[in-house]
C-alpha cells in the first residue's frame, strides 16, 4: 500500500465521524451530510499532497467540506426543500440513547441562527480553539467570541424557559 493510501486511510478513520456530524449540522439531512463527506474525502484524496502537517488536517478537511456545501447551495438554490421537512427527518434519526432533555436541546441548537451554531459546533464538537475557528470561518477572533457567547446565552435562555429541562439545571 502506498504512503498516500496509508495517510488517506488514517484521515478517513480519524475524522469521518466528526465531519459527518459537522456536515449534518450544516445541512440537517443525514443523506446529504453523507454525500458531503464523500465529496470532501474524494477532494481530499486528490489534493492530499498539499496537506503538509497532520496537525492541520482537521481544519483543512472542514474547509473543503464548507466549500462543498457552498457548491451544493449553488446547485440547489432553485429546488431547495422546505426546512420543516428537513427537521422531520432529523428528529426521526435520533438514536434511542437520546433523552428527552437532549432532544429538546437538539431542537434548540437547530433553531439557533447558523452564524451562532457553526462556531459552537466547531468549538464543542470538534474541539477547535477560537483562533482555529476564526481562521476556518474567515472571521476575526472577536467576532467568533461574540457569536459563541450569544449561542450559549440563547441556549441558556431557552432551556430556562422550557418546562422539560428547567428543573434539571443544577446550581
Amino acid at each position: 500500500m502506498s504512503n498516500k493510501q496509508i495517510r488517506y486511510e488514517a484521515l478517513v478513520r480519524a475524522f469521518h465521524a466528526d465531519l459527518f456530524r459537522y456536515a449534518f449540522w450544516l445541512c440537517h439531512q443525514r443523506t446529504v451530510a453523507e454525500d458531503l463527506v464523500q465529496e470532501t474525502f474524494l477532494r481530499a484524496w486528490k489534493s492530499l499532497d498539499s496537506l503538509q502537517e497532520a496537525a492541520a488536517a482537521k481544519g483543512w478537511l472542514i474547509t473543503i467540506l464548507r466549500r462543498e456545501n457552498a457548491r451544493r447551495f449553488e446547485r440547489k438554490q432553485f429546488d431547495y426543500q422546505d426546512v420543516d421537512q428537513d427537521w422531520l427527518e432529523d428528529e426521526h434519526s435520533e438514536g434511542p440513547e437520546q433523552t428527552a432533555e437532549n432532544q429538546q436541546l437538539h431542537q434548540y441548537i437547530a433553531r439557533l441562527a447558523e452564524e451562532y451554531r457553526e462556531p459552537l459546533v466547531l468549538q464543542v464538537l470538534l474541539g477547535m480553539t477560537g483562533d482555529e475557528i476564526a481562521q476556518t470561518l474567515e472571521l476575526n477572533l472577536n467576532t467568533v467570541n461574540t457569536r459563541l457567547f450569544r449561542a450559549r446565552q440563547q441556549l441558556r435562555e431557552l432551556l430556562l424557559q422550557s418546562p422539560a429541562t428547567g428543573a434539571s439545571q443544577h446550581g
Binding site: A17, F41, W45, G130, V144, N145, L148, L155, G171
Partner: protein, 235 residues
C-alpha cells in the same frame, strides 16, 4: 474587567485560561457556580451535537476512493498493463520448461505468477492491512473476517483473462501465496500440483476457487482451514 465582560469571556469559552477570568473565578463562588453550570451545559450540547454516524461510513468512503483510483489506473496505465502481460507471457513460456506438463490449467498459471512475484517481493516488505485486502476482495464479492498473521501483498492479476486476486500471507513456515478466482475462469482445475520448488493446492468454494501455493516443505493444511473459516462470500 467588569461583570459583563467577565460573562462574555466565560460564555464564549467556559474552559478558558484567560488570566483575568481565572482570577475572578477564584475570588467569587457565584462565578464558580456559573462556570460549573456552563460546563454542564457544554456536556449536554456535545451530547446533542453527536448525532449517530452511519456504522459503515468509513468503509464506504475508503471503497469509493478505491474505485476512483482503480478507474484512474485503468485509464492511465493500460500500456503498463499490456507490458506486464507481455512479461508474464514470456515468463510463462520460460517456466513451462521446468514444469510438469499442465497445459493451460490453473496450476501452470499459479506457479508462473509465484515465480514472477518472487522477483518483486524482496524490495517491498511493507505489510497490507485487512481493510485494504477487503477493499479488493469486495470486488469479487468476498470478505476476510479476520486474519491471525500478517499480509504481505494484495493485488489483482490475470489468469488467462480472468481477473483474480493475488495475495501473499506470512506464516511461521514462510510466505504462502493465495489466488482467489471467480468461478467463471474456464481453466482446468485439477487436484494438488507441484514442481521442483513449490507445491500447490486447489480449493473449490461455493462462490470462488482458491489456489494455494507454498514452498515444497511447507504445509498448506493450516492456512487452508483458516481460509475456509474466515473467507466469506456474499450470496
Amino acid at each position: 474587567m467588569d461583570e459583563l465582560e467577565f460573562r462574555r469571556r466565560l460564555l464564549s469559552n467556559p474552559t478558558t485560561n484567560d488570566e483575568a477570568v481565572v482570577q475572578q473565578l477564584a475570588a467569587d463562588p457565584d462565578k464558580q457556580r456559573l462556570q460549573h453550570e456552563l460546563l454542564i451545559l457544554d456536556q449536554q450540547i456535545k451530547a446533542s451535537l453527536a448525532v449517530p454516524v452511519p456504522a459503515d461510513l468509513a468503509d464506504r468512503l475508503l471503497l469509493s476512493q478505491g474505485l476512483l483510483q482503480h478507474k484512474k489506473i485503468r485509464q492511465r496505465r493500460w500500456w503498463l498493463g499490456m507490458a506486464a502481460s507481455l512479461v508474464l507471457v514470456a515468463g510463462l513460456v520460460q517456466q513451462r520448461d521446468h514444469l510438469y506438463p499442465w497445459p493451460d490449467d490453473i496450476a501452470g498459471h499459479a506457479l508462473a505468477h509465484v515465480y514472477h512475484e518472487a522477483k518483486h517481493l524482496d524490495d517491498n516488505n511493507s505489510l497490507i492491512d485487512l481493510t485494504r485486502v477487503n477493499l479488493l476482495l469486495a470486488d469479487l464479492g468476498g470478505e476476510l473476517r479476520s486474519w491471525p498473521g500478517t499480509i504481505r501483498y494484495a493485488s489483482f492479476c490475470y489468469f488467462q483473462g480472468t481477473r483474480s486476486l493475488h495475495l501473499i500471507f506470512n506464516t511461521p513456515q514462510g510466505p504462502v501465496t493465495v489466488f482467489v478466482l471467480p468461478k467463471n475462469h474456464g481453466l482446468e482445475s485439477g487436484s494438488d500440483f507441484y514442481d521442483a520448488q513449490f507445491h500447490g493446492h486447489n480449493m473449490q468454494l461455493a462462490k470462488a476457487d482458491l489456489v494455494l501455493v507454498a514452498g515444497k516443505n511447507q504445509s498448506l493444511s493450516g492456512i487452508a482451514t483458516t481460509l475456509q473459516q474466515q473467507l466469506q462470500f456474499q450470496i
